[in-house]
């Protein structure tokens, strides 16, 4: 294909996206579109799967049977969400195994938030409220993304995810109305999770070189800073209802902007965790790899069984 022909195809492709048409798996797409989507969708899938790990500890430690059921259901959803996303990525020509390899070898990233430890039961509430809250904000924006399978996965995920945030907030409401010790746990969890939650939206727009291209492809409907601002504005009143303080002395309503002003994120910490030096990076990856390796015999046995059954059918047919 000549350069001119390629340019024309790319222009037609962009025009389709501008007209709000969806791109489907077998359609022509620029190689960069394909690769960027494989990267983003697979890392999104990895985040769902690794996101189950900080919660795993608390299944057996949930304070009541009701809370335990809700937590189990949330974690099961996350497994499901990982599957929707892996399937969407596979439509672009990468295999499931390749994606697992990339995760296990450390080549692929997942959301850094899951490299922080979940120390108390209040963390389960705070993760649901802030971490799922931030994720939902991002995912709602992504429902309108241009790649059909990704967009459909987002719609399904958003439908299911709202319960995650509510069950988290409900845990905190109960504790915030409990003993002084329980209230202190809520505040402590807030102090530890607030800044990492704001980091979930990624680097500042000025330091995010891919933003422009992603906006063109509708892989970003809102920039990192816009989503972060939206998150802060939405969360402050919710924190007030819980009667807890947000650990930021620069946080203040700005009447002129009609938004909250807030302090600077510790970007050194952000990059440290992204590069693998967070409190739990190693532990999370080890847990993932160990689960995969220990499951080998199960996967092999399932294949052996399927082959045996298939052979039986052949014999019967003869």
């Amino acid at each position: 294909m000549s350069e001119k022909e390629l340019k024309s195809l790319e222009d037609q492709f962009q025009a389709r996206i501008d007209r709000d048409e969806k791109i489907e798996p077998k359609d022509w797409m620029p190689e960069k579109y394909r690769q960027t989507h494989i990267r983003q969708i697979s890392q999104h899938a990895h985040s769902e799967i690794v996101g189950m790990l900080p919660e795993a500890n608390w299944i057996t430690r949930a304070p009541t049977l009701r809370r335990k059921l809700a937590l189990l259901a949330k974690i099961q959803d996350e497994g499901g969400h990982g599957l929707y996303l892996y399937s969407a990525a596979e439509t672009l020509g990468i295999s499931r195994e390749e994606m697992y390899d990339q995760l296990h070898s450390g080549k692929a990233k997942y959301s850094s938030i899951f490299n922080y430890p979940a120390l108390t039961w209040a963390d389960m509430g705070t993760i649901g409220w802030l971490v799922d809250g931030a994720a939902i904000m991002n995912q709602v924006a992504l429902m309108g993304t241009s790649y059909g399978p990704y967009s459909r996965a987002m719609v399904r995920i958003c439908k299911e995810e709202s319960f995650h945030q509510r069950q988290g907030y409900s845990i905190l409401l109960t504790m915030a109305n409990g003993t002084p010790e329980q209230k202190a746990m809520v505040q402590d969890a807030m102090n530890r999770w607030w800044w990492p939650s704001l980091m979930m939206f990624g680097p500042k727009d000025a330091d995010s070189p891919n933003t422009e291209q992603s906006v063109k492809w509708k892989l970003k409907r809102k920039t990192n800073d816009e989503l972060r601002q939206q998150f802060v504005d939405q969360t402050v009143p919710q924190a007030n209802i819980l009667g807890i303080t947000i650990p930021d002395d620069k946080l203040k309503w700005n009447e002129e902007r009609k938004h909250y002003d807030f302090g600077e994120i510790d970007w050194d910490e952000f990059w440290q965790v992204v590069k693998g030096h967070g409190p739990c990076n190693k532990q999370r990856l080890e847990a993932r790899k160990s689960a995969w390796e220990k499951g080998t015999w199960v996967r092999d046995a399932a294949v052996a069984y399927a082959e045996k059954q298939a052979n039986k059918e052949v014999k019967q047919a003869i």
Binding site: Q76, S87, Y100, E160
Partner: protein
Amino acid sequence: MKNWPLWEVFIRSKNGLEHRHCGSLHASDATMALENARDVYTRRMEGVSIWVVPSAQITASNPENNGETFEPAIDKAYRHPTFYELPDELKHM
């Protein structure tokens, strides 16, 4: 995973409606595909019936041929009821 084929999942949300494609998953055989589909796609009463089909068994049209495949229908307006002009006195038809 290499040997676990991909399956397409179709769900009937309630009797009276058709099965609709809702996604795909890997499974070692049809029984496992059905069981996994139940866990992945009907956790909130989304279905009363599930079909699973090996993805490799699906033959799909090629979007590059969309022109010759679908465009001939564009200039066949006479296949639509609104193509036919009828007198105003005719109230229902």
